[in-house]
C-alpha cells in the first residue's frame, strides 16, 4: 500500500480538526486494482480489469475507465479531485474526482506499475513503469522520463518518503534505488541486487520500510531505507509479492507471496507467524492493514478472492473479488462532515 496514506491520514485528521489521543479512525474509500483473470479462457485478455471500490455493504463496483493493466491509484493529498491511475496504457488523470479522465502520457509511456504523490510537494508526482521511472512537476498533467543513474529500468514498486520531500525509493529488477532530488537522478541503495517486488513505508513511523523480493524473501529497514536487514528466515528464498505495515503500529508487519501464504509479525519483524490457515490458497499478491478498521488485515489471493482478518490472520472472512489477480489495495481518506 502506498505511503501516500501517511499524508492523507494527516490531512484527514486536520480536516476533522482533531489531534486527540485516541481519535475515532477516519473513514476511507477502499479500492482494489485487479484483473479478473480467473475467467480468462482462450484469451490473454482478462474478463475485466481496473479499479474496484468497496461500498459500505461490502460489494465491489468498478470505478473509473475500463483499462487493461490498472495497477495503482493515487489521489492528490491536498486536492482530492485530482486522481491518477497507473495503467498499461499510461497515466490516466482526472481533475474532477473521477467524473472525466484524460491520459496524460504519450506513446512513450506504457506499463505504469505504481504512482505516488510527493507527500509534501504534491505537485511532484513519481511513477515507475516496466520501462523506467517517470516524474511530473504539475500534479500529473505532464510527465518526463526519469532514468538518470539507472541501467536496469524495470520497476514495479515505489515509495515517496513521507519524512523527506523529494526522496523517492524504487524497487527495480536489480535492487532498490534512491533519489534525493525528486527523481531527477538515482543512486543504488545498500540492498541486494535482486528484483524488488514491493516496497512500503510505515505511516506512524516513516523510518520503517519493508521490501519484498523475488527469491530472496523480505528485508526491513529501521532507518528510512539507508540500510536493510533480512527478516523472516522461513521465507528467505521465497518470492514475496506483498508487504504491509500497520498504519497505527509500525511494529505490526505482514508479508505474503507465492506459496508463502501470509506471514505476520507483531514485534517489528523479530518473529513471524504463518497466518495462511483459512485462506483457500497460499498465493498472496497484496496485503494491507485497513486504516479505517483497527487491526484489520486484507489479503488478495491469486484468483481465489479477497479476504480480511480482524485477528491478525488467525481467522479469515471472504471479502469478495473472486477470480481477481490483485495488484494493489488503496485506501483514500474521506473527510467526515
Amino acid at each position: 500500500m502506498r505511503n501516500l496514506l501517511t499524508t492523507l491520514f494527516a490531512l484527514a485528521m486536520a480536516v476533522a480538526g482533531t489531534v486527540a489521543a485516541a481519535p475515532a479512525l477516519p473513514a476511507y474509500d477502499f479500492y482494489a486494482a485487479v484483473a479478473m483473470t480467473k475467467a480468462q479462457k482462450n484469451s490473454s485478455t482478462p474478463a475485466d480489469s481496473g479499479l474496484y471500490r468497496r461500498n459500505a455493504a461490502g460489494a465491489w463496483h468498478h470505478f473509473g475507465p475500463r483499462i487493461l493493466g490498472v495497477s495503482g491509484l493515487a489521489v492528490h493529498p491536498a486536492d482530492p479531485r485530482i486522481v491518477l491511475i497507473a495503467s498499461s496504457d499510461g497515466v490516466v488523470r482526472s481533475t474532477d474526482g473521477g467524473r472525466t479522465w484524460r491520459k496524460t502520457t504519450g506513446w512513450e509511456v506504457a506499463d505504469v506499475r505504481s504512482i505516488v504523490f510527493d507527500p509534501v510537494q504534491p505537485e511532484l508526482v513519481y511513477a515507475v513503469t516496466a520501462w523506467g521511472p517517470l516524474r511530473s512537476t504539475d500534479a500529473g498533467a505532464t510527465w518526463q522520463l526519469a532514468q538518470k543513474g539507472l541501467t536496469l529500468l524495470f520497476g514495479q514498486t515505489m515509495v515517496a518518503d513521507a519524512a523527506r520531500s523529494g526522496r523517492v525509493l524504487i524497487g527495480t529488477e536489480g535492487g532498490i534505488y534512491v533519489s534525493r532530488d525528486a527523481a531527477q537522478s538515482w543512486q543504488r541503495a545498500k540492498f541486494p541486487e535482486v528484483p524488488v517486488l514491493r516496497l512500503t513505508q510505515g505511516s506512524s513511523d516513516a523510518k520503517v520500510l519493508l521490501a519484498t523480493t523475488l527469491g530472496r524473501g523480505a528485508f526491513l529497514s529501521q532507518n528510512g531505507g539507508e540500510s536493510w536487514t533480512p527478516v523472516d528466515p522461513a521465507t528467505a528464498g521465497a518470492n514475496l509479492y506483498a508487504a504491509a505495515i500497520a498504519p497505527q503500529d509500525a511494529a505490526l508487519l505482514a508479508l505474503g507471496g507465492w506459496q508463502a501464504g501470509v506471514r505476520v509479525s507483531a514485534d517489528g519483524g523479530r518473529t513471524w507467524t504463518d497466518r495462511t490457515a483459512g485462506l483457500p490458497v497460499k498465493n498472496v499478491f497484496v496485503l494491507a492493514f485497513d486504516p479505517g478498521v483497527k487491526g484489520r488485515l486484507w489479503a488478495s489471493t491469486f484468483e481465489e478472492g479477497t479476504f480480511y482478518s480482524d485477528d491478525l490472520g488467525r481467522t479469515w472472512q471472504e471479502g469478495g473479488l473472486y477470480g481477481a489477480y490483485g495488484y494493489d489495495f488503496i485506501f483514500i481518506p474521506v473527510a467526515r462532515p
Binding site: 482462450n42 475500463r66 520501462w131
Partner: protein
Amino acid sequence: MLPTPFLSRASWIWSAASCVALAGALLAGGTRAAATTAEESQADADIARRYQLRREAVLDAAIATLDPADPTKGWYLDVAAALQRGERREAALARFAKLNEPVPNQNMFWTYPMAAVMAAGHAGLDDASRARIRELWKTYWPSRGDTENHWALYYASLYIAAQGLPGAGPEQWFNGKSSVENMAEAKSYLEHWMWVTTSYGQGEYDSPNYIQEYLIPMSLLAGWAEDPAFRQKARMMLDYLIYDYAVENIDGFYGGAHSRVYPRQIVAPGATSTSAIGWLLFGFPGQAADPANTLLAMSGYTPPPILERIARDAAHRPYVERELKRTRWRMRHAGPDSFVIGDKRTIPVYKYSYVDADFVLGSTQGGLLQPIQQQTWSLKWRPADRAKETANTFFSVQPYSSPVEGTMFFSENADVVTDLIARSKTDYDAEDKLPGGSPHEQVFQHKTALIGLYDLPAGNRFPHVTTFFSRDLVHTTEDPSGWIFAQGGPVYIAFRPLAPGAWQPNDWTGLLRSGRGGWIGTGFAEWGSGHRCFVSDALRNGYVVQVAPVRDFKSYADFQAAVRALPLQFSTTAAPEVTFTALDGSVLRARYGAVPSVNGQPVDFAAWPLFESPFAVEKRGSRKLELSYGGERWLLDFTNNLRGEVSGGAAK
C-alpha cells in the same frame, strides 16, 4: 498484459463467411481468376491489370458477404467495402448497426475495422451510424495492447479515426485527448516505428501470420491519411514490408525463420495470411479472404511491379538473403548482448535464407528472439499439391517455457506469467509444442547446410530437441550411417542427429487433438494428424541438416551416397561442436558458445546487413531500401520521403 490472440480468431470468423463469397466472386469472374496463373507476362501493364482484377475480386467478395435479408452476416470491412463502392448500402448500414450494438471488447482489433468504415465508407454512412461511431469512440476505451502489431494497429486506426472526427475536443474521446492530440500522438509513434524498422529491422519480423497486422495499419494510412507526406511514408512501408516477404517466398509461402507462428501454420504454412496476401499481391495460388487483403484493396495501394518480379523471380535463384531484425523490446533479463534504441533494450536477430527455385531454407542464430511463437529455422518447399493444409515444411525446436522468457517481454509477475500466457497460447507450456525459441539453442547456416547445437542445463523443463517430420515427406530412411534421409517434394533432406532419439507422433500429449488446447487446435484432424517427430533427449545435443534440390542428383540414392561421403566430426562430451563439409565443399565449424566459421572465416555478425540479396543491399541504419531488378531500380528513402523509380540517381 499479455499478447492478444483475437485478431486471428476474428479474422478466421470473418474469413469463413468471406471465403465462400470470394470463391463465388472468382468463379463468377472467370476471366479474373484465370488472370492469376503463374505463367504471366511480367510487363508493368500486365502486372497492374492482373492486380486490379484480383483487387476487384476481393471487394466483390467482401460486399457479397452482406445479405440484405440478414443483418448478422458480414463484418466491418465488408461494410466498409460496400459503402466505399456504393453497393448494398442498406444492407451495409443494417449490418453496421448490428455490429455496433454490443459494447466493443476487441481493443485494437475493434479500432482498425471501425476506422476503416469511417474512412472508406465515409460517404455512405447515415446519421445514425455517425452518431454511434462518435458515441463508441467516447465511451469505449480500447487498449493499446502490448505487441508491436497491436501498437501499429491501434495508432494507425486512432490517427484515421481522429482525422475523421475533425475538431472533436477532449470530451469527445475515450482518452480525454482531442482529435488533434490523438493524431499527433499516433503519428509520432508510427514515425518512430518506421524509423526503428528501417534502421534496425522489424521487431515482430517476418511472421506469416502477423504480416497481416502490419499491412492493415499501413493500408489504412496509405489509403486515407490526408497528410500527403505521411500517406507517402505508409505506402513506402507497404513496399518495404512486402519486399521483405517477396524476397524470401517460395511460391507464396513465407520461407525461413519467423518471429511468430501458430501450431497450425507452422505445420501447414499455406494456412497463413501470407498465402492470401501472396495471392492478392502477386497472384500466387492460395487465394482466401483476409482482412489485410480487403484493406489493401480498398486503400488504392498498388504494389510497384518490381515487387512481383522479385517475388516470382527465377533468374536469380538460388540466392542468399541476409537480413537484420531485432527482438521485441526486452523489459527484464535483457542480457549482455542487448543494446538500446531510444530507451528500450533489444538484441539483434541475424536472419539468413537460402532461396532456391524449389525451396527456402532459412534460419536465425537461435536464442530467445521473440516470446512464445518463434520459429528459429525452417525448410519450406514448393508442393506439388497446393491444398491448404499441405505440410511442406521441416524444422526443429527445443521446447522451452520459463518465467524468464515471460518476464523478459511481459510485465506480469514471474509466478503467474507462464500460466497466463498458456491461457491463450495453450501449447506454450507443453513438451510437444512446435513453435518457440530457446536460450539453449544456437543455429548456424551456410547455404544449404545448417547446424543446430544445444547445451541444456540439468533441470531444464523440457530437456529434449524435437524435429518435425511432416506427413508429406516421402522415402524417409534411417540410414546406418546415422543420417536420416527424406524427400519433401522437390528437395532432398539429410538430417544427422548428434544424439539418439525416438519417434513420437506430433502432439503426443494430445493437447491439441483433444480440444484441450482451445482455439489454436481448431481443425487439428485436418492439419495436425499423421505427422511424427524425432525426439532426442540428450542435454548436449545437436544436428546437421543438409538439403539439396532433387534436380541436382540423378537419384535419391545418389544424394544419400553424396551425403554419407561428407566429412563430419562432432562431439557432445563438452560444449557441443561440429565440423562439417557441406555438399558445396564449404567447411562449416560450429561450437556452442563460440562464433561459427565457414572455411576458417568467422561469421562477421557485426557487419550483418539490414538487407542483402541480389535485389537490395542496405547497411544497418540506412533508413532506405533501393531495389533493383535487371536494369530497374526502385527507391524507398525514408529520410527524404522519396518513393519511386530511380532514374539518373534520383527517384522520379
